[in-house]
Symmetry: D2
Subunit: 127 residues, 4 copies
């Protein structure tokens, strides 16, 4: 596999840096692309989980994606105003990137203790 884009990166950037960088890009995308989508049922949420996973995997070097959305969308069909929009705090996203010999696993989820939706690196492995 030749990487057509490699020459644009500084030569200081290692395979590890590349994998970590792509993991950050992936999670930044998810938060700012999908937050705000109107949903009415937990079935809608499930479909959205699969779509976000596909969307993550469509971008370069992502090897795995697992998305879980809080099951809080069972709205009353008889009330037209009873629906809600996806919040970042509803999301638990795992993304795995492999670049060269490095595999990075990163995560986005609500961390109550910090009162923050945190994107962080769960693991970095050389394979």
């Amino acid at each position: 596999m030749t990487d057509r884009a490699a020459k644009y990166f500084t030569t200081k950037a290692t395979e590890r840096d590349r994998a970590v960088f792509e993991a950050g890009l992936a999670l930044g995308m998810v938060v700012h692309q999908f937050t705000g989508i109107p949903l009415r049922s937990n079935e809608d949420a499930e479909m959205l989980e699969r779509l976000i996973e596909r969307s993550i995997l469509s971008q370069p070097y992502r090897t795995r994606a697992k998305v879980a959305i809080k099951r809080r969308f069972d709205h009353k069909p008889e009330d037209p105003y009873d629906y809600s929009t996806l919040k970042t705090s509803d999301l638990d996203v795992l993304v795995e990137v492999r670049y060269g010999r490095f595999v990075v696993r990163a995560r986005l989820r609500r961390v109550e203790e910090l009162d923050f939706n945190l994107a962080y690196i769960e693991d970095i492995e050389e394979v």
Copy 2:
């Protein structure tokens, strides 16, 4: 059906106005929420069509939604950079809103003659 939000609208707003307004809201949502999603295959695009339809229908008084996305997403799996993001011009969206005795059908689609992604009203009916 009582409409809890009705009292916030000017009393000048008719049922017809309400239906037309919701149709505008629905199409504004679709354009600005979904444009930019990364996709790699036409299968991804199909899943996104269904999700946009559900998302439209989750909001008040929408009675029908039909979304077609241009089938231009058959990217090469072996090229990491061969994917693309949803553009407004890929979308053909039909939304139907019913409020009281009025049904409005509105559409969003690329109009080449205008070089514009046009949102317009296709039909207004009293039922």
Copy 3:
């Protein structure tokens, strides 16, 4: 002023319908385009108010836009995690559309009584 797009609308659509429809489109755009922007200070929020107004006015037939964002963004510079993202409930948006002889004024704001971010028509006038 000739309207190049007029012929795409059903002939049943009146000037009033057109104005109401554009008002809906405008508010749908604001909610789904701007929600999620990271901000750290109330000064950031003020700049964003002006930008949303310009963005609204860039689209067809909008004649006035007034945006107010809740002043809740005075975060502590010394805490890297103390910032937040724009929520729909932070927004109070007024948009005025004129099409032909009709002026429509529409609004988006948090309505506590409904526990809902409501988009509604405040006024419709023939001028």
Copy 4:
């Protein structure tokens, strides 16, 4: 500076990894949050440049942001349909992140040769 979030990261994540990860997050945010904003003039584009810079800097450990948007937005005020929306290819974004002893400079810009809007690492320095 204590980092309240540090304990959520794998202990394998170095200061360098942290800086690179944040740079990726920053550029993912810009692409997926700001693309799609309607603009009518180059003055609008200038205001948006400043806003994106502030938005980047509001998030953790970003020390510098420089945004340039293509000057292609001088639309005709007399034509209601003559405006356009921000595309990723309009953007040239530089972000600098410092975490501990590491400074990472990353960039997003259209690379014609690749026919791709590339996010890449321009420099990594230990200071």
